[in-house]
Symmetry: C2
Subunit: 459 residues, 2 copies
């Protein structure tokens, strides 16, 4: 049963499992204690720190273990901001950071700080110029992910780190998605990562703070982990995390090359096999194992269920698959279609057969969903008026776009269709539909309930 | 090799190990995902929550899992204080809480809040009256441990919870040391605990917030664990924690009865076998497995090393065993001797033979250390002056007390010895020595360096 969501969590690497079992026996005691069980635990902790630091490319005393990647990000941002409080309170982040970064930014803004979001292009990448423009003398900290977790696009971290260095601003790199594949290049100042993304156990994150970077840990004091991560060390998991990082790295280049070919195949064949699909993210500068695409006129949740029934586990950034009914902020920032969104992230060891099976199932699943939703096959209708207004209030994604596609034939080329919708996602998906179908998106106007989105038929 | 420090960390319970292994296979995926691996993880998480809630005696939706007991305490106190911000900013804690509680209180005080510490008696217990006096209309939250982690004294939680209830103040109970032995009685409002204290794995704490208690999670938002504990759930460890809590509870009454006898024996025999020893804490209202005593004229670190060499792992609240060179705040608050301090906490399964072995080794170890330190055998000296002043500057615990013991014979009954010391611990240990040896502690006066502690010879 192929599991294609390693960007959420990867099954435990066999080396992690072995190390965990050994450390459960040898490393359960408090490493701060003076007796033999404590000294043994301390040796394991020190060795794990050395191994993790070597994989990151930092000194062991620059690296602490946290209870998760999210904790590493929260702690890292709070400590770096506090350490630079005298300089200023501006936090610069990209618009496509992981939610843990954006939530830390929200807290900073709520407590009076300033947050500047750097936009991304349609492939999901920031430009170094965008960061250069955002840095000012009051900038305390900048954050940039090494690669995007939803679309796989690799960010220009080394260039941005260079710019930050010139401006004297520490750059925090969230390397959660990429650390298993290799160290992060460039002169970054802080780095965070999460072990369960590379096949380590859950319960372990990394926070690296380069020597010389001002850092003031926030929250209640705790002497463990250099005062940067409170609580009793989760030592067996830490040992397993470090061992698996080393093991994963040993296989990384070969596995990346193999998975890159499989992902390229998915990118090409999805575009060919599924009508009205948008494969998103950068085709070249990307993570080796991850690809995301959006299927027009399909509902992400139903698509996930159909794929799950057929045995394929994938995730989605469609609004209907989130508990808050909002589309992925990454897809929004890129301005790409969010409906019928599917993220495929291949775990190490994925075979070509598994990928082929998925490529067989996917087009059928999409076609069935579209048939059920009554998607118009072509613009069969004849024009009935110069402009048409559709009441799509109460309809959820992908229905407003389906209504629009049905109606576009009822106006002549040059005519307009206006969709009145109270579904937030329409703001993203109607313009995306226009650019996919070759029509012009005229704009949006407020309505008492929802908004009106107007489209001009061009062909 | 007997390990007698289960109050720091207990070896993994066999049931925890089994459950952990099973959950590593079944529970590595993200429980928020819709596909089968995610649903399976969700089932495991829900079942673990039910089991833990049953052991605590709360509803499953009142309990969240945190990365450690320390995180549970920090999160619980911060959220409860914020939830009651409109009422006031007073936080009431006992003087003998775990450092995680006191550190959270420090942060509260540093950000403008008020902290009131309730004193304890010489056995380490708070009085309900002490809490009643501390509660006022501006009290936001009160905290009280279920039992003390260093001396084992059980606190009157139910009575204090009743008083807090009458005053409309939520009581947070840190149950880290007692939850494996049984549920916490009384109408508490919040409860915290730590799995590795009951034989579960590290990486799991519990935070319980009763329905109706105002609670406003602080820090960056995260939708997991009811918004109360950010980060990817450490599911295998959570499953193991819940399974072992249930298993430990099934054996708790019988094991408590057995260990209680062994601890009683240690209390009695240490007092008989070791001269000049103070066994501290309540002999009756106490944890079943824990006993602490302090040996006059001995140095805690050396004593720990001697016991470790003989094969016994124990911990200590002596200043020389802490990285900050300060004596345990618990011993300080109780006003008992801190030098030569030893905490013995027996893990489940400890045998009478192991305890007997320890009782054979201990008196020899103490005697050897005292001989090495040149401890006066009796008051052999003849009085030479009405009052004597000793320069003990630069000497570390237990040397100032040893100097005092040597000098007391050089003054007649009714005469005084003044010890000038810059060792912080002298303030605690010189009065404790007086009460153990039957002399009067006159008081302390400031000196340019350190302080002068004056003692009147009474016999």
């Amino acid at each position: 049963m192929p599991y294609f969501d390693s960007a959420s969590a990867a099954p435990l690497h066999p080396v992690a499992r072995q190390a965990l079992l050994a450390a459960l026996d040898e490393g359960w005691a408090d490493p701060a204690r003076l007796y033999r069980e404590g000294r043994r635990a301390r040796l394991l902790l020190d060795a794990a720190r050395e191994a993790a630091a070597e994989a990151v490319g930092c000194r062991a005393d620059e690296l602490v273990f946290t209870p998760s990647g999210t904790h590493a990000v929260h702690t890292g941002i709070a400590g770096a901001l506090a350490g630079r409080r005298r300089v200023g309170s501006r936090l610069v982040v990209s618009a496509v950071e992981h939610s843990s970064v954006l939530h830390a930014a929200e807290v900073h803004a709520a407590s009076g700080g300033t947050v500047t979001e750097v936009a991304v292009d349609r492939l999901g990448a920031v430009s170094p110029d965008g960061y250069a423009a955002a840095l000012d003398p009051a900038t305390a900290v900048a954050c940039l992910q090494s690669a995007n977790h939803e679309v796989g696009t690799v960010q220009p971290v080394a260039e941005v780190a260079g710019l930050c260095g010139d401006a004297g601003v520490p750059l925090l790199v969230d390397a959660a998605q990429s650390l298993g594949w290799g160290p992060v290049e460039g002169a970054w100042s802080l780095l965070t990562a999460s072990a369960h993304k590379w096949g380590g156990p859950p319960g372990v994150g990394l926070l690296v703070v380069r020597k010389g970077v001002r850092f003031a840990p926030q929250g209640p004091a705790d002497e463990r982990e250099s005062g940067r991560s409170p609580g009793f060390a989760n030592l067996p998991a830490i040992v397993a995390a470090a061992a698996s990082l080393r093991a994963v790295r040993a296989e990384a280049d070969a596995e990346a090359a193999r998975l890159r070919v499989l992902v390229d195949r998915i990118r090409r064949r999805v575009a060919r096999l599924v009508p009205d699909v948008e494969v998103v993210g950068d085709a070249e500068r990307r993570l080796p194992h991850l690809v995301t695409f959006s299927c027009l006129y399909a509902d992400g949740e139903t698509l996930l269920h159909e794929l799950d029934r057929a045995g394929y586990s994938v995730s989605s950034g469609s609004s209907c698959t989130s508990s808050t009914l909002t589309a992925s902020h990454v897809l929004k920032a890129m301005g790409v279609l969010s409906e019928g969104n599917v993220r495929v992230s291949l775990p190490a060891g994925t075979t070509a057969e598994e990928v082929n099976g998925f490529l067989e199932v996917l087009p059928r699943a999409v076609a069935e969903i579209r048939a059920r939703l009554g998607v118009p096959q072509a613009q069969e209708s004849v024009p009935v008026a110069e402009s048409v207004e559709l009441d799509a209030l109460g309809l959820r994604c992908p229905q407003p776009v389906i209504e629009l596609a049905r109606a576009i034939g009822t106006v002549p080329v040059g005519g307009t269709v206006t969709v009145v919708s109270d579904d937030e996602v329409a703001r993203l998906d109607i313009p995306a539909w226009c650019s996919m179908r070759g029509h012009a998106y005229v704009g949006e106007s407020a309505r008492p309930v929802g908004a009106a989105y107007t489209v001009r038929r061009l062909r």
